[in-house]
Symmetry: C2
Subunit: 120 residues, 2 copies
DNA sequence: CTGCATCCATTCGGATACTG
DNA sequence: CAGTATCCGAATGGATGCAG
């Protein structure tokens, strides 16, 4: 697995495209603590439009990351829960999150320095 | 670090946007084995346009992930090398890559099943 | 060889309005 | 409450031509 065949690279790129979009991670993080309803997620993930939430949830459901459960009541309730696969992704991403949190300051500093240098 | 403050989430999202774009990871992987020249990278990362390579390298340089060394010769040669920060990112992403490689098949299967279900 | 500028097609993401 | 459909602006990414 130290080698990196082209096929794996494409797969990784595809996963990263999914995961790296604007909302996926935030939604996953919101759900991971337990099941949540549509507007519950919307409240928790501040700034997301309801359409983006719909799209993101659908994509995650399609990938088997979240499970969608409809409770036929009035008003209708829909619960979203992270599947084992979703939790698995969440754990993996958390490591990247830790890295990001740990290096975010350095990176911002680098950017600032770079921009200052360009201005000269 | 088990808690997830909003600030960290934003930072992670920003990092993921960087890393999750179409080419960054592939370029990083290409360079990690050793320093490479511009067209060397272009050859290795198949399908990348030269402008996307320019943009990606610049972004990485700005973030302090790669170092750019110009050898003033004729014709000019420019070497790109991964910095320690870049290697650090590379290692972290490799874990995500392993996850992706390990679950890619399952995810594709899930998608196929979902699509079939929708068609009914 | 390396890199920048321009143009253009496609995609992404947000706001809004409407349905069950 | 949950979800769909439409419109539109912004951003992404590719092709090409030009310059150092």
């Amino acid at each position: 697995m130290t080698a990196k065949p082209a096929a794996a690279c494409r797969g990784v790129s595809e996963i990263l495209s999914r995961v790296g979009d604007k909302w996926t991670i935030l939604v996953v993080v919101a759900i991971q603590s337990g099941s949540l309803r549509f507007n519950g997620i919307k409240r928790q993930v501040h700034g997301i439009s309801q359409q983006m939430l719909t799209r993101t949830l659908k994509a995650l459901e399609r990938d088997g990351m979240v499970e969608r459960t409809v409770h036929p009541s009035t008003p209708p309730q829909v619960e979203y829960t992270l599947t084992p696969l979703g939790h698995s992704l969440s754990d993996t991403v958390r490591k990247l999150a830790d890295w990001a949190a740990g290096h975010h300051g350095v990176i911002e500093d680098n950017r600032h320095r770079y921009d200052a240098q360009q201005a000269r």
